[in-house]
């Protein structure tokens, strides 16, 4: 925006260089760049003050005075939304202490007696600040601290709830497209107090808390450039935007991937003449107005755009059927929770004992020992309760994937046409980066365990389909012919001969599916599946290698146990078939 105004209003030649803060600040000091439009003085206090004292840089006033962060709820919760037929759900919700009263609106499906708070991204500093704040405000007893694995997951969760007009409570910050696109209201915290803030930063369990400071973002200018160009300095000194304006411009870009920052700037300038008129002298205003009129709309380049229809389809489904998906997911969630509780009902050695006994059924002698050592190792690493979460998710996903994969495998073996048709889909399911369908799964089912199961099933079902199909087709044709000659009907052939003889291969499929489900459950922690994967992610985002490795090791131990167990069952069936 500033570059357009400088070019057209004052005839400057402007070169725009994007970059990260520290190098840009250094370049500003040395005069390699003249103007830095965003200087986050509070975040880079030392560097800025050093350059300022040396007389290398000066500030040209505030760009936007209100870079914010805090707890947000959608405004329709408080005021309702006539157009979308949403009634005010929480008309009196103003401050953080009001949240307790309304916690039932935010019910966490995974812990129904608490509300769900969508915290900052796992491992970011705001995440631990928010956790402390919730403790200080006494909200931690009423809300679950839900930490999304990535920024995309948090934004997608907000977007899908907003589209459906559902209540939610989330941390967010601005200027961002999320704050620009959606009408959110900040829940008031006690006014910022530097004293309380520094207490909050130091203590693990603070007894009071305060709002995030509102940050002023300045425009920085190289001193020599400023002295030579008083006209530009006048312009920059009057230039001021706000968090809201920037957010809206960002959201204008977000709405359409083809829109460049320049498009967003032009859009803003065209619509807000009364704002930028004040920044320029009269002569420059006329020139800019003329230039704006001359701007032609861009020619459209033809390309195959499948992105837009997919986006439209997803948001259409979310809007119209989101609720049905959520309702459908409820029994699944219940199943997962019951499974977890079942595992938690036994002490760790109880679960280990059950697995060891199970492994005895395979007739393998050393297997119980291996499984005992692996599961004991997980306990020893202090990862037991997390491993249980992962295990429950994995068992349910594997069960669904194995069941559906078994049926699809049988159909594929029966109908060659179907197999041909499915082949590219199977390839896609295995190779498509899983994040691509993690996010839509999240938008349909909400953050948490259900979309994790959904994504895991998609990923893990493929080997089951392929190996069931293969196993059935490679059954000795002579045996099939013999069975046919005695008058076996379709089902007698299928269940009595084909599937029975394919069982070793099908067990290999179950083994593969189990392993893939385990690896996917780990990735699914990005959309809030918790468990061991969350620890790995936390380790990565905090650069805590040790923590990541510990959780990773627990995953390996779990994988070894499950792999050996399913393989042993496979071998047992194999032995029976071959002997």
């Amino acid at each position: 925006m500033a570059s357009f105004l400088l070019e057209k209003g004052y005839g400057c030649e402007v070169d725009v260089i994007p970059g990260t803060t520290t190098p840009l600040l250094t370049a500003l000091g040395s005069g390699d760049i003249d103007i830095l439009m965003e200087v986050w003085k509070d975040n880079f206090k030392d560097a800025w003050e050093k350059f300022e004292e040396q007389g290398k840089v000066i500030d040209a006033g505030v760009n936007f005075p209100d870079a914010i962060q805090g707890f947000y709820v959608p405004s329709y919760m408080i005021h309702g939304d006539v157009k979308r037929n949403i009634k005010p759900m929480a008309p009196d919700l103003k401050e953080v202490k009001d949240l307790i009263k309304y916690k039932n609106l935010f019910t966490d499906p995974e812990e129904p007696n608490k509300g769900r708070f969508l915290n900052c991204i796992l491992g970011w500093s705001c995440e631990s600040v928010n956790t402390k704040k919730f403790y200080a405000y006494g909200l931690d007893k009423h809300f679950t601290n839900f930490r999304p694995g990535t920024g995309a997951a948090l934004a997608a969760a907000i977007a899908s709830k907003y589209e459906r007009g559902e209540p939610f409570l989330a941390y967010y910050w601005g200027p961002t497209w999320v704050l620009g696109k959606y009408d959110l209201t900040q829940v008031k915290e006690p006014a910022y107090d530097p004293q309380i803030w520094s207490e909050l930063e130091k203590s693990e369990r603070p007894n009071r808390a305060t709002a995030y400071p509102v940050v002023k973002v300045y425009i920085g200018v190289n001193t020599q450039f400023a002295e030579k160009n008083p006209l530009v300095m006048d312009f920059l000194n009057s230039y001021q935007t706000s968090n809201q304006q920037i957010s809206q411009a960002l959201s204008y870009m977000q709405e359409n991937e083809e829109r460049t920052p320049k498009d967003a700037a032009l859009n803003f300038l065209k619509k807000n003449e009364n704002i930028w008129e004040r920044w320029l002298d009269d002569e420059a205003v006329e020139k800019v107005e003329l230039a704006l009129q001359l701007q032609k709309s861009k020619k459209k380049k033809w390309k195959l755009d499948i992105g837009k229809p997919i986006n439209n389809a997803v948001s259409w489904i979310v809007k119209n059927y989101g609720q049905s998906f959520k309702n459908a997911s409820r029994p699944m969630l219940k199943l997962i929770i019951v499974m977890e509780q079942l595992f938690k009902f036994f002490p760790w050695w109880g679960v280990t004992l059950i697995f060891c006994l199970l492994s005895l059924l395979t007739g393998h002698r050393t297997l119980p020992l291996i499984i005992g050592v692996c599961l004991g190792g997980i306990k020893l690493l202090g990862m037991w309760s997390l491993a249980i979460q992962t295990l429950s998710l994995m068992i349910i996903s594997t069960f669904i994937a194995a069941f559906l994969g078994f049926i699809l495998g049988i159909l594929n073996a029966r109908f060659a046409q179907l197999r041909k048709l499915m082949l590219p889909f199977l390839d896609a399911m295995q190779t498509m980066p899983s994040f691509v369908y993690l996010i839509p799964a999240l938008m349909l089912f909400g953050l948490g365990k259900v979309p994790a199961v959904f994504a895991t099933v998609i990923y893990a079902i493929v080997p089951m389909i392929r190996l069931t199909d293969l196993g059935i087709r490679k059954v000795d044709p002579h045996v099939i012919e013999a069975a046919k000659s005695f008058g076996a009907n379709y089902f007698q052939l299928l269940f009595g001969v084909r599937i029975t003889l394919a069982l070793p291969t099908i067990m290999a499929g179950i083994n593969q599916t189990t392993m893939m489900a385990l690896s996917m459950v780990v990735i699914a922690s990005m959309i809030g599946a918790r468990g061991l994967g969350e620890q790995v992610l936390l380790g990565i985002q905090k650069l805590d290698v040790g923590k990541g490795f510990t959780a990773g090791l627990a995953i390996v131990l779990l994988a070894i146990s499950l792999d050996r167990l399913t393989q042993a069952f496979g071998r047992k069936l194999d032995g029976r078939g071959q002997l």
């Binding site: 002579h478 013999a482 000659s485 005695f486 001969v497 078939g577 002997l579």
Partner: protein, 268 residues
């Protein structure tokens, strides 16, 4: 009780069976069909009549169409044209449940590669045919035990096929086919995969059974000695065509052409 009649059977393998049929009837040769149309003629106009309770041997080299021909008898292969009549009923017209019932009650089969169910033991294999046609457990056990004894496998009831020698496995196959007590027994090169000594032994078992039982047996082999030893009458096939039919002595004394002569001559 059961006559078997093959009537003008043609079998052409390929997508355009019916079109090929037309061409073949108009006089296009097999060789031409293979070269021009990539169509293989498996059976070329074979008609045969097998009498009730006859032990009928079908002989020919591999690729002569003998295995293909007998699979028409229980509908494992459908002919491109022609009829297969069993007791005046056309097998090629049977569908669905009718065909299943025909296979369950009328014809049983012994295979060259045994075709035993590897996950079932000897006893279970022998009563397989009875079980799938819905006979009671007692009935299954009673009959299975009887036929296991007849083929000389007593004591091996609980063994799995992979634990048995080839000869013993084929005894299981034979017992399985006999247990269903059908009028017609089809044996597709049952002893070809066995050692010579065991083969001779199995031939004796078969001869023994032939004396004891009233059954129509259709026996496929590529071994002239075997054919002569077992057959009441026999047919010789070559390249999907019927060359000669007769009793073994008729064929030996009066071979129809050079092809048959080369068989018989070699034997002498």
């Amino acid at each position: 009780m059961s006559d078997v009649v093959f009537k003008n059977i043609y079998k052409i393998f390929g997508d355009k069976e019916l079109k090929a049929m037309e061409l073949l009837r108009k006089g296009k040769t097999k060789k031409k069909l293979l070269e021009d149309d990539k169509l293989v003629v498996g059976i070329n106009n074979i008609s045969l009549k097998i009498k009730n309770n006859e032990f009928f041997v079908i002989m020919g080299l591999s690729g002569s169409g003998k295995s293909t021909l007998i699979r028409h008898l229980n509908g494992l292969i459908k002919p491109t044209a022609g009829k297969v009549l069993v007791d005046k009923q056309d097998v090629t017209c049977l569908k669905g449940q009718e065909l299943l019932n025909f296979r369950r009650h009328k014809v049983s089969m012994v295979f060259q590669k045994f075709g035993l169910l590897p996950h079932k033991n000897v006893l279970e294999n022998v009563y397989y045919g009875l079980k799938i046609r819905g006979e009671s457990k007692e009935e299954c056990l009673k009959k299975a035990n009887k036929w296991i004894e007849v083929v000389g496998l007593s004591g091996y009831e609980k063994s799995y096929p992979a634990e048995l020698s080839g000869g013993m496995q084929q005894r299981v196959g034979l017992a399985r086919a006999l247990a269903t007590e059908t009028d017609i027994l089809v044996m597709d090169e049952p002893f070809s995969a066995l050692d010579p000594l065991i083969r001779a032994e199995m031939q004796n078992v078969t001869l023994d059974l032939k004396e004891k039982m009233k059954k129509t047996v259709i026996f496929v082999t590529h071994d002239l000695d075997e054919a002569i030893k077992l057959a009441d009458r026999m047919a010789i096939l070559k390249d999907g065509e019927l060359i000669q039919v007769g009793t073994p002595s008729e064929i030996i004394s009066n071979p129809a052409d050079e092809y048959v002569k080369s068989f018989v001559g070699k034997d002498k």
